[in-house]
Subunit: 274 residues, 3 copies
């Protein structure tokens, strides 16, 4: 009845005096960041190609790890833990520190779990129109019931426990601001998505105890989830982060990664900088 | 208590395999559309003059049918069915097919009923800050109670069962981003609105069974309805469409039709194209 | 359960025929306004410096009264009534009439009370991401419980019943779109805020009987309050104004007052003009 979730909207930084923000004085005017970009469902690491190029051009270090069940991985029978392990292993293998860990869409659930495992390597978490699950939730729990039922039907009708996104849904919900030609071009990159991780309930107790700074980047033409009345990216999921920095843009869920990568890069920088 | 309306948020396109989107390949790069634009209350077909000119300049065919009780029609004693019939008859008389049927404001309720009668002539429905009524609802049911009571008082005080929009309401709610001079100029076009169709409860069962593609165009400075907490255009009414394409602009309810018609035309094209 | 507040969403201007809007014809094309700008918490009258300069350059008269407990006032032990009296006395002392009374943030609660005392001097009230309290509420009542508890802890730990805004909260919530360097610069102006007025419950019965025209200016990257699900500036507080003019901008809570003062000035003009 009372829509605010008391348990997870904790007052942040009650020990703020311990935060050495005076140290910020030593930062150069043009801050150089290390981004690790984690894509979402029906995408692979190439989702980030244009955005990563724009960030690198601005002087940043950018990593775009692929994860289990996606890209060239032929095995679609993966769990959420395997996906998380892909990203954790990538970060450890490259010995990355002070990273801005960005999750897009389903990637939000991945960075929640990655943050639990390597919190000391992360400088800030950035959720870009990304799921922020409550402890014990699955991604599917955040879908309107008819959408969830639709996904369950698509899952049941697949031969390898995947969900293929029908083009009309992709066109209207993921690339709504694109032209049809752009939508068709983007759709050639869409592969069947392993279903299991979308329905796994995640233990996120540790995530909600982490003091890691967090940002939420919201694009207001994003149409993947209904925006309001109990669903949606912002504020429905963003407020679960407790204290977070809000950055807003005018894009949709997928289109701008291709058509305006420099804009997305700038917004990710605004979300990720100190 | 649970604000999501299960019955009408159906998973769309469960039979998507039957949709020949491969046929989209044959579309020309610059898609030519046939628009039928249906205005709202306290307006007539001239509401569309600037927008229609901009659309025609871009190569589209545009129709702006007038309907019963509006424009030059001296009879204000009309029903919602008479208004619907005006548009249906216009479409049939001109033998229009593959139309992008656009409804603005009250016009949303009109295109809901028109779609029920000539579904095979319609390529896509576009609701622009328009009412999407639930089955059995009237437009008045979507107004906050004090607003509805105010309209009922204005209705009762009229001699011909109309409601005249007071200038202060028009200025603050319909043309809030305009200058006073523009608001006064626009107000010279405002005529008393037939009251009955705003209070008629509509049978919309067939509408909610139609597979017609749908879009919602939302202008975020629109102030006609409270945006949120149980009221408003988007997402409150847009989510009733099930699968829909969202397009967002920065205008208000009336002003941009006069001051930025090319912007509105572009947004309607983005909402209407395949 | 039903989130709409019947009592305060009264149908406005039911006596609209008495409003001489025909008199607007005599206004010059370039309307000259008298602004009185009332800042919020963790700020002083210098908050308005850039905005006031931009408004004056556009031909307007601008006043930026300081109020009790702020600026050079060494006494932090103030009440809401003392703050209100500061602004009322300023208006009386300068014999101001036909003023556009603007409140930012906490300043919204101040202009609510000022309007009760000098309604005849006010042409229009403008709330810019400002609190609009219900009768009997305190500002603290509009904060999410964990935020309120955090403020109560900060208050309890102060020696002079003030609340100092920790830098991380200021940076993420008040100047989220700024660079770190800008945030640090702005933070040098932040002083401990007298706590008592934030927790005082206000009698606002008279405010809700005033026919004064009202506007709400909402910046959609403002992150001070969660935007939705029972909290936030617009529409959560704006709808309490009954009839109001909505103007929307893309800024945050503090940054644009420094980085884009001309933009804020233009938006305030759009909110304030007839």
């Amino acid at each position: 009845m009372f829509p605010f979730i008391h348990e997870i909207y904790r007052f942040p930084y009650s020990d703020y005096r311990a935060i050495p923000y005076g140290g910020y004085d030593r930062l150069p005017a043009q801050q150089r960041l290390t981004f690790v970009l984690v894509h979402g469902s029906w995408a692979d690491a190439h989702f980030w190609d244009g955005i990563a190029a724009a960030l690198r051009k601005a002087g940043h270090i950018v990593h775009t790890p692929e994860y289990a069940g996606h890209g060239h991985d032929p095995n679609k029978n993966v769990t959420h833990a395997m996906i998380t392990k892909s990203v954790v292993d990538y970060i450890a293998r490259h010995n990355l520190h002070d990273i801005i860990l960005v999750g897009h869409s389903f990637g939000g659930t991945v960075i929640q779990k990655v943050a639990e495992q390597v919190p000391n390597r992360i400088k800030r978490l950035v959720f870009w129109d990304a799921f922020v699950l409550k402890d014990g939730e699955s991604l599917a729990d955040e879908l309107p019931p008819p959408t969830r039922q639709g996904f369950e039907q698509l899952r049941a009708s697949s031969r390898d426990d995947t969900i293929m996104l029908p083009f009309p849904l992709f066109r209207e919900l993921f690339v709504n601001t694109a032209s049809l030609e752009q939508a068709q071009q983007f759709y050639t990159s869409v592969a069947p998505e392993p279903a299991k991780p979308l329905f796994e309930k995640l233990d996120l107790k540790k995530f909600y105890s982490l003091p890691t700074p967090k940002s939420y980047l919201y694009f207001y033409q994003d149409n993947v989830l209904p925006q309001g009345e109990g669903y949606g990216w912002h504020p429905h999921m963003s407020i679960r982060l407790g204290l977070f920095r809000l950055i807003v843009g005018d894009g949709d869920h997928f289109t701008d990664s291709r058509t305006r990568p420099a804009l997305v890069a700038q917004k990710l920088y605004e979300a990720g900088r100190d």
